[in-house]
């Protein structure tokens, strides 16, 4: 045992080593010369790695090691980063510098830190030859998050008759219930954080938001090579790319690792380093939140299992309040975005209450509307989408008299530019996406 360290006073963050055996990947990190922090990621019923996939697998494992390190790095954000295997090639270093800097931007903002001088992965290593195609089977990993988006992605792939597996990391009973409801084959990967991280927290580590979608992406890349999938289809909308605010000259986007920039960086990196035929994309990228909620409003069978709420419900109950806290921005946004597309009593039965008739929530909805406040740090749609949804409701008699709709109509709406408030433009897709040709027929589901 070494003496306890003060996480905020550490000097070096070290990527010590990573290994894989019998379905378990071990990722080891350390601060200075402190105790090793070992994270384990377990892949159920893992098949042996085919010999011709080994190189790809090793690259994917290395990527996972580098990306998953963000959970530990942020505990101390020391000024130096060391990688045991030697310097990274420039493309890899670029990817990680970008991920750590932008993915931790909100964390930095909240803790009053400037990471720009700190995040510099060692670079200059030799680049490996371009990765080849591995003839991966034509099937798709669809990560399930328990919210509406991944369920829309699932149904879109089902609609084109595509083969897919519902995959999720961790043991959320809510996600398991949603995955079950999809009727797809299921894959549940377990991630066990290093226990030492809890100890660091106890000792006063920095805390805050990390780009968890990037970590999950890296886990799924490894899974795709291990089990054989040619595509990983996330369900990140267009609006995930929009920044939440600007802080000391840096854009801060809560969902940066769900944004298009990261999707492009990782997708290209995978083609070059792992497998030319492994596609990483978001199936919902062409669409706005509103376009996605409009489609989700047709998917009645999911209404009593899904939740986009931010609170981590580890124990499920039958009541809406067991899935929707009603307090967080996610609850507010999903409520608002679904409202134009569902019968009001149906919507209210999903949430168990009427969030738009609760004056105490005015500040929360103001934040969504970007009125008197910045956009909240959550995975929610753009302010303009929220405003468009609110305008639509303000024109409907069954909503008009609700406290927050009325407030919007009387107080906020007169200050807005009418030309930018229509709902319809949000329902049109954009052309910007990386959906591979094989999966493009799924987009017909959104028509």
């Amino acid at each position: 045992m070494t003496t306890p360290i003060q996480p905020r006073l550490t000097q070096v963050f070290r990527f010590v080593r990573c290994s894989y055996a019998n379905g378990v990947a071990e990722l080891v990190y350390a601060f200075d010369h402190g105790e090793e922090l070992t994270e384990r990621v377990s892949f159920p019923n893992a098949p042996p790695i085919p010999a011709h996939h080994q190189a790809a697998f090793d690259e994917a494992l290395k990527l996972l090691h580098l990306i998953a390190g963000v959970s530990y790095y942020k505990a101390g954000v020391p000024p130096r980063i060391e990688v045991a295997g030697g310097p990274l090639d420039d493309a890899t270093a670029d990817l990680l510098d970008a991920l750590y800097l932008h993915g931790l931007a909100e964390f930095a903002y909240r803790n009053g830190l400037d990471l720009r001088s700190r995040i510099a992965f060692p670079r200059g290593g030799a680049a490996k030859p371009e990765a080849k195609a591995l003839s991966l089977p034509h099937r798709t990993l669809v990560p399930i998050g328990g919210g509406k988006d991944s369920l829309v992605a699932v149904e879109a792939i089902k609609s084109m008759g595509g083969e897919a597996t519902a995959v999720w990391v961790g043991n959320s009973p809510l996600i398991a219930a949603c995955a079950e409801r999809t009727g797809l084959a299921m894959l549940n990967i377990q991630r066990e954080l290093a226990p030492g991280l809890f100890e660091l927290n106890r000792l006063g580590a920095w805390n805050g938001h990390i780009p968890v979608t990037a970590v999950n992406s890296a886990i799924l890349v490894l899974a795709a090579i291990l089990y054989g999938y040619d595509s990983i289809a996330f369900a990140n909308e267009r609006s995930a790319s929009a920044a939440t605010l600007e802080y000391e000259g840096q854009l801060v986007n809560h969902q940066w690792s769900k944004g298009y920039e990261f999707e492009q960086l990782l997708g290209d990196w995978l083609h070059a380093h792992v497998a030319a035929d492994l596609d990483y994309c978001s199936l919902l990228r062409p669409y706005s939140e509103l376009a996605v909620t409009r489609v989700f409003a047709r998917l009645t069978p999911y209404f009593d299992v899904f939740s986009s709420c931010n609170r981590n419900f580890k124990l499920l109950g039958p009541k809406p309040a067991d899935r929707w806290c009603g307090q967080c921005p996610k609850c507010h946004f999903v409520f608002l975005a679904l409202a134009p597309f569902l019968a009001k009593p149906r919507l209210l039965s999903i949430f168990g209450r009427n969030l738009l008739d609760d004056e105490n929530l005015a500040a929360g909805f103001d934040a969504l509307l970007e009125y008197q406040d910045h956009k909240p740090f959550e995975c929610v749609g753009e302010g303009a989408e929220a405003r468009a949804a609110m305008v639509a409701l303000s024109q409907r008699s069954e909503w008009q008299a609700d406290a927050l709709v009325e407030r919007f109509r009387l107080e906020i709406l007169p200050q807005l530019d009418e030309k930018e408030l229509a709902l319809e433009p949000w329902l049109a897709p954009s052309a910007e996406h990386r959906i591979p040709a094989r999966l493009q027929p799924a987009l017909a589901f959104f028509a």
Binding site: A321, K344, P345, R346, G352, N354
Partner: protein, 872 residues
């Protein structure tokens, strides 16, 4: 066959109609049961008419047959249905009786023909009628064969459907109505045929001779029709539950069986939620005054619910409380409706046009609010949006949902309003959207937000009992609880009170020496402590010393390994003077001055903070300290009037929405949040609540790296009323362990107070005098202390058992208001207590006075304070 068969009945012997549902007629053992029950009624000297449903599943199978266009498949379906009956006959070791053979042949023919000849609806009605025709034919054969000669009666020959205005062909054939007046001719005709009869539920015949169905609840309704026609002695509905309850047992397991109801009350209860009886089956019985008895087929020894004409001899009581969820309110506001002819007619025409049916109505001069039940049309079409759009042209519309209608049912509701103050106070804390009470004075309905109902209902049920509005003390009206009758877990009987037997003589001696006196029984404190220690999920228990700070109790609990939770420097000093230095201490004050915190920091106590102010203004005081943050998890947990400690109406805790700000301040001042604490209120008997607080705290703790323990407070309920179940510690442990398994990295703390000491203490006082008022109808029993010693009854309407210890074995013959000598009209220790005739100097014992008794006493009126005595 049956040599003990009683002599044949006189022609005018009265009738008993017995109805058995589908599961009751589906197996041989069930039929054997029916046979026993019928024979016992026959032995009472009554003619018996048995009304049966189709075998379970047969009506559905017949409906599917009807929906089948393919003739071959219809014939297959009819064969499968026949097979079900053959199998049952096989078990009965009976040949196919002719009557059943005829029915099966007719069904096969109907399946073959299809609807073309008779018309869809008439054919479908006749096909579906076969379920009951076959089960009754089978039953006649079985009963006759087993020694109870039974005549088969075709219900269609007895029940004639009437034509009603607004009836279409569908309702005429598939949900018909029968008008029933006592029919002496039918009575005589049947009496001439025999003594035991069997007939069909659900079916009748209309004026053109076609078979019709009675629709939902049809078999029960048939039984009622026959009861009325024959002017029966009673109608018995045999089902799978003993009757109606004071609440839906799924929501309120402690709901009590209702043993007597009048027709109107029962109909109201059936309409507002109880599923055991269809509301329409009571009206035929009302005029001929035929009672209806609900009985449990599996538990015939239970009394059941007897529904009859109004019962006058009972004190008015609320009979039931129910909740219907998924209600949508439409509120319409306009000055246009004021004195404007036809305005409401126009408004209601809109509801009709959009296919939405209105249930409750509440109105003011400028507002009408109506409720809509949850229908598919409401949930999944744009009907409501269209309605709102149309209504908006004439008034201001507001759609309020999701709501729930909570209804209190009882005859003479308006005369009980004064007893409902605590119930009304509860509603005062909620958003009540509408209150409705109709002129029949049977109900009082509150429409509230749906999300409060699950927790609210058991609590209201409890409050109704406590307030004396639901008089469960009247054993003629109220039977055992559902929990006691059907609960899966063991029902925990109330613990035997130490003072009733083993220590009574000692107490009488103590009482004779001097009163008022508090007496504490330490073995009970230890026993309660050990029970809580059996909660495996709990890592640390603190005694909330505010309940009782007697040094002997503190010492006893320290010996049991408890920590101590104190809310003031005084309490901390009292505890530290008595307990060993190793005992953990918690300091959880509320709105305490800065000096209190400063002083507590000099002790070993763990401090809890509960506002931003404490860090904003005194942050440096806490630098480098580890603290507990007391959170207010908000509304929805713990609906308790004066003892509730969550929600913005309560002064306790930091609102969750200020958590981030608190954490930033903590960081600024180097304060480490080591624990989270929430306390949801007091007197909670439902184990689920703690699981909710626990998991909610845990999910919040996950956002704060430094937290290592969660304190879910106390508030463990202690039952006070007779018949109330104890808190199920094993069930609580299970709930807590489930949460612990999900969040193993947090230690779990609790801080019970009252649970440990309430039952251990009693207050002894002596009778001073009695007084009668109102022609002696109201009798007061005076004792030598009151609210000065025990303020809980006055402060919280708390109910304490009161006994005359001197005359414990004498019959309790009269009702008393037990009052103290304090010059306050609120100085009442107990209302309407049934006690033996007292004499001056009798020792009276007030039970459960160990918690919040002595510690809350006052020198008011400068009366001597009660002495405290410890029993080892």
């Amino acid at each position: 066959m049956n040599p003990q068969s009683p002599a044949s009945l006189p022609a005018d012997a009265s009738w008993i109609v017995m109805k058995f549902g589908g599961t009751s007629v589906a197996t041989l053992p069930r039929w054997q049961n029916i046979r026993e029950l019928v024979a016992s009624r026959r032995a009472e000297g009554a003619r018996v008419l048995v009304v049966v449903s189709a075998l379970t599943g047969i009506t559905d199978a017949l409906k599917q047959l009807c929906a089948q266009d393919d003739k071959g498949k219809r014939i297959e379906a009819a064969k499968a249905i026949a097979q079900r009956h053959y199998e049952l006959l096989d078990h009965m070791q009976l040949a196919v009786p002719d009557a059943l053979g005829d029915r099966l042949a007719e069904l096969a023919k109907l399946a073959d023909e299809g609807p073309a000849l008779m018309g869809e609806l008439a054919w479908s009605a006749l096909v579906q009628a076969h379920g009951e025709l076959m089960s009754s034919a089978l039953g006649a054969a079985f009963l006759t064969h087993s020694g109870l000669p039974t005549q088969w009666v075709d219900a269609r020959d007895c029940l004639s459907a009437i034509a009603l205005p607004n009836q279409n062909e569908r309702t005429k054939l598939l949900s018909a109505m029968v008008e029933c007046k006592p029919d002496p001719a039918l009575n005589a005709r049947l009496a001439a045929l025999g003594e035991v009869f069997i007939t069909q539920g659900f079916i009748a015949r209309e004026s053109q001779g076609r078979t019709v169905l009675l629709g939902r609840g049809g078999s029960d309704t048939s039984a009622s029709y026959f009861g009325a026609l024959l002017k029966a002695q009673r109608v018995e509905i045999w089902t799978d539950v003993a009757g109606m309850f004071t609440a839906n047992p799924r929501q309120v397991p402690s709901a009590r069986l209702l043993q007597r109801l009048d027709y109107e009350e029962a109909q109201e209860i059936a309409s507002t939620g109880a599923k055991v009886l269809h509301p329409r089956c009571l009206s035929p019985l009302r005029e001929p005054r035929v009672p209806l008895l609900i009985k449990d087929t599996n538990r015939p020894e239970l009394e059941g619910t007897l529904i009859g004409p109004e019962v006058r001899e009972h004190a008015p009581s609320v009979k039931a409380i129910s909740a219907r969820k998924g209600i949508t309110l439409v509120s319409m506001e306009s000055v246009g409706m004021w004195q404007q002819v036809g305005f409401l007619a126009d408004v209601f025409a809109q509801f009709k046009q959009h296919g939405l049916s209105v249930d409750l109505i509440g109105s003011a001069e400028t507002n009408v609010t109506v409720s809509l039940d949850p229908t598919e049309n409401l949930l999944d079409s744009d009907a409501l949006a269209a309605l709102a759009g149309d209504l908006a042209k004439v008034c201001r519309v507001k759609v309020i949902a999701p709501c729930a209608a909570i209804t209190l049912v009882g005859r003479g509701m308006r005369s009980m309003l004064h007893t409902l103050s605590s119930v009304l106070a509860e509603f005062g804390q909620l958003r009540v959207h509408m209150i409705s009470q109709s002129s029949n004075n049977l109900n009082l309905t509150f429409v509230v937000d749906e999300n409060v109902v699950d927790e609210l209902l058991p609590h209201l049920h409890e409050l109704l009992i406590t307030a004396g509005a639901l008089r469960t003390d009247d054993s003629a009206l109220f039977g055992p609880s559902w929990q006691a009758l059907y609960g899966s877990g063991e029902v925990l009987p109330p613990a035997a009170s130490w003072w009733r037997q083993e220590r009574r003589a000692e107490l009488l001696k103590l009482g004779a020496q001097a009163t008022p006196r508090y007496v504490y029984h330490l073995p009970t404190v230890r026993q309660q402590a050990r029970e809580l220690k059996s909660l495996a999920a709990v890592d640390r228990l603190h005694y909330a010393v505010k309940a009782n700070t007697h040094p002997a109790i503190l010492k006893a609990l320290a010996e049991e390994g408890f920590g101590f939770e104190c809310v003031s420097p005084g309490e901390l000093k009292a505890v530290m003077a008595v307990v060993p230095a190793s005992a953990p201490l918690l300091f959880t004050p509320n709105f305490a001055p800065r000096e209190d915190y400063a002083w507590a920091l000099t002790t070993r106590a763990t401090l809890s903070l509960d506002s931003l102010y404490q860090l904003e203004q005194w942050g440096e005081l806490f630098r480098g300290r580890e603290v507990v943050l007391r959170l207010d998890l908000g509304r929805g947990l713990g609906h308790h009037e004066k003892v509730r400690t969550g929600g913005s109406g309560s002064k306790f805790g930091l609102p969750v929405e200020q958590l981030d700000a608190f954490l930033r301040l903590a960081d600024t001042h180097g304060v480490i949040v080591r624990g989270l604490h929430a306390h949801l209120g007091s007197g909670i008997l439902d184990d689920g609540h703690w699981g909710e607080v626990y998991s909610q705290l845990a999910s919040i703790a996950e956002r704060i790296g430094s937290v290592t323990f969660l304190d879910i407070g106390g508030g463990l309920g202690v039952p006070s009323h007779p018949g109330e179940a104890r808190l199920d510690i094993a069930a609580l442990d299970k709930v807590l362990r489930e949460v612990k398994a999900a969040y193993p990295h947090y230690q779990l703390w609790m801080e019970p107070g009252r649970y440990l000491v309430a039952d251990a203490g009693v207050l002894l006082t002596r009778v001073t005098q009695t007084k009668g008022k109102g022609n002696g109808n109201i009798r007061y029993l005076g004792v030598d202390t009151g609210m000065n010693s025990l303020i809980r009854p006055a402060l919280y309407d708390a109910w304490h058992e009161i006994v005359n210890l001197t005359r414990l074995d004498e019959p309790a013959t009269a009702l008393f208001q037990v009052v103290g000598p304090i010059c306050e009209s609120g100085d009442v220790l107990g209302t309407d207590r049934r006690l033996p005739e007292p004499q001056e100097g009798d020792v009276v014992l007030v039970a459960q006075a160990g918690a919040y008794g002595k510690v809350m006493s006052s020198p008011y009126n400068l009366r001597d304070e009660a002495e405290e005595i410890i029993l080892e």
